[in-house]
Subunit: 366 residues, 2 copies
């Protein structure tokens, strides 16, 4: 198979971790007879430096011309980087928001998974972890407060700022379907999260989710208020299979869930539209403090590449090979610094490795 | 001192826990020479049953005529209670929202505190708990998405729902001042939480907080994005002193923070306006499943009464007496069922008691 992959290396540790993901993909290509073509696409701070804006029309066109985009990370240190002196629509993140919207990437999948080998990094007690947890957050990504009308204006001499949260039934229906579809491939449970006791948009959300649920009689579903969900993620993460929610709630809850696993450097994500196209990126940020040191964890990006093989190219076997290789290196005791045993924990059989070495180890095992 | 206290017993466990708080207040009255007059006020499900609406104008007037209102909890089981068949504005919670707005209770204080004696209930690992944590969430309570214009309408035959998030500089300034004021009485650190990389309202929030901060040179302050804050509460709750944020973010984060302490049955809250008036209520809900069984934990309500003495009546000594009495009963080993040691934990010197007995024990010790 020939695959056209747009590559957004981005800022901070982005270029380092993307290099390792390409290394693993190329090994997959060799082994399974695929050809991966890469086109570099500028986005974020590096694009601002080169072009003055975080995402040019050419960059959008290049992304559209690709089958999928693999991304590292964008942005910098918000208090010291000059990018954050710019107007909001010129900052690195604005590039990402624009890309999501331009490509209609409405379905954001973020798995939050506890690795048996990394249990010690989980901030929760053993009795809460129990036999572990494995959730998929399905976040709506192109609607709600993020993309509603906004304005800042003087009202009777008083500065007033407004953002708008709008959803229509079609936007809700398509993401709800995605949520139930993925639940069918998992443990068949959907928790739909809203604030229906206060918001009109949440009441519509709930109504449409109920309609969609009728088409999935095998899936158990429930509604949960967002404040309660923020509690339940800490109290008992095991209860969740698929969490289905709107843009802003999904932003907050998916980050909380990823921290609850204790190993955000291991978590991938996919942003999908109605075609096979997808944008794949690690859940973590650009970590400017460790950029260029060769110590960043490339696994989340490598697993994002696996998601790309699975969702865009239907290469399930190849995706499995990557995921198994990751499990294998963990079992063999290799760790980047962020997932090293905590103080007091045994380090027997554990070896700390850098970014490139971790990429090599995984590539060797696919 | 003579104190006029409106009492909203409410639904579920509300009446039981409020009874114990009054018991403790009366004991304080005897000991320190104060007279507490109580006026019952209907709100929530019980008001719907009696009057058809969750809060009557008479009830609002009675609240306004009081120096302070002490509340238990309102609402029921959202899937089985008939209240949840009603239109949203007729449900129990609508009463609470209306009361907040009618009395201009814009400043919601929610302490999230780890009790040394209840460490075992904390869902976090010991190395994360460290020497414990003690935060105060200052949540804006009468603005934002909760009170913005909303509508559900057909747009080209498609049902569309909209909520509006508006803040003006004055609303932000007054809550920010409250946040910095309370930080001055604590560890002098404010974490202001927003989503300024996306929302106009958050950018205004950040700007005004920066202005207010200039008047508090002794207070260290920082801005944190809401998604990051949801992570940090799990990763390292010790870092926080005062968390200052808008209504919806505060709803989510304060519930997360209270769950992180592991003992939501111990956490009080205050909702204040520009006068000495306040509405005081436990952080937990109405727990309909255990209502009437005499096992609910009354401590959060008793501590809410202590907050009332402190904030509305300036009776600091008396508030201290209640807080110390609570610490004392914990030290002596008395526990309601929700804070009993976990499986595997030692129960030596621990005695399980019911709601009324817990009230007695605390009243005896004030
Ligand atoms: C960078 C930012 C705009 C973005 C978001 O909030 O969506 C990020 O936090 C994420 O979750 O992907
Ligand atoms: C009952 C509900 C409207 C309320 C809120 O969301 O404000 C509750 O969750 C709270 O936090 O006090």
């Amino acid at each position: 198979m020939e695959c056209q992959i747009g590559v957004i290396s981005g800022d901070g540790i982005g270029p380092e971790i993307v290099t390792e993901a390409k290394k693993v993909l190329d090994q997959i290509g060799k082994k399974y007879g695929h050809l991966f073509h890469y086109t570099d696409i500028l986005m974020g701070g590096c694009s601002i430096d080169a072009t003055g804006v975080p995402l040019t029309d050419d960059a959008i066109a290049a992304a559209k011309a690709s089958d999928a985009v693999l991304m590292g990370s964008i942005g910098g240190n918000t208090s010291t980087s000059p990018w954050y002196q710019l107007a909001p629509e010129l900052r690195p993140e604005a590039g990402l928001l624009k890309l999501r919207k331009s490509l209609n990437l409405f379905a954001n999948l973020r798995p939050a998974y506890l690795y048996e080998e990394l249990k010690a990094a989980c901030p929760l007690r053993d009795d809460i972890i129990g036999t572990g947890f494995d959730m998929m957050i399905m976040r709506e990504l192109t609607g709600g407060l993020y993309f509603g009308a906004r304005k800042t204006e003087e009202v009777d001499g008083v500065t007033t700022a407004t953002d708008t949260l709008t959803y229509n039934e079609n936007e809700i229906r398509r993401i709800a379907k995605r949520g139930f579809d993925i639940a069918m491939k998992r443990r068949k449970k959907v928790t739909s999260v809203d604030k229906a006791n206060v918001l009109d948009s949440s009441r519509l959300w709930r109504k449409i989710v109920e309609e969609v649920a009728k088409d999935y009689p095998e899936v158990t579903y429930e509604h949960m208020l967002v404040d309660n969900c923020a509690m339940q993620l800490v109290k008992d993460p095991k209860q969740f299979d698929v969490i289905l929610t709107e843009n802003m709630f999904g932003d907050i809850l998916s980050d909380e869930a990823s921290m609850v696993t204790g190993s955000i450097g291991m978590l991938s994500s996919a942003s999908l539209n109605d075609t096979k196209f997808g944008l794949y990126e690690p859940s973590g940020g650009s970590a400017p403090d460790i950029a260029g040191k060769g110590i960043a964890n490339p696994i989340a990006t490598i697993l994002s590449a696996a998601m790309m093989l699975r969702y865009t190219f239907d290469l399930d076997k190849e995706a499995d090979a990557i995921e198994n290789a990751v499990k294998q290196v963990l079992k063999e005791g290799y760790r980047t610094i962020d997932i090293m045993p905590q103080a007091g924990e045994s380090t027997e059989g554990i070896e700390q490795v850098g970014t490139a070495k971790m990429g090599d180890l995984i590539a060797e095992r696919v």
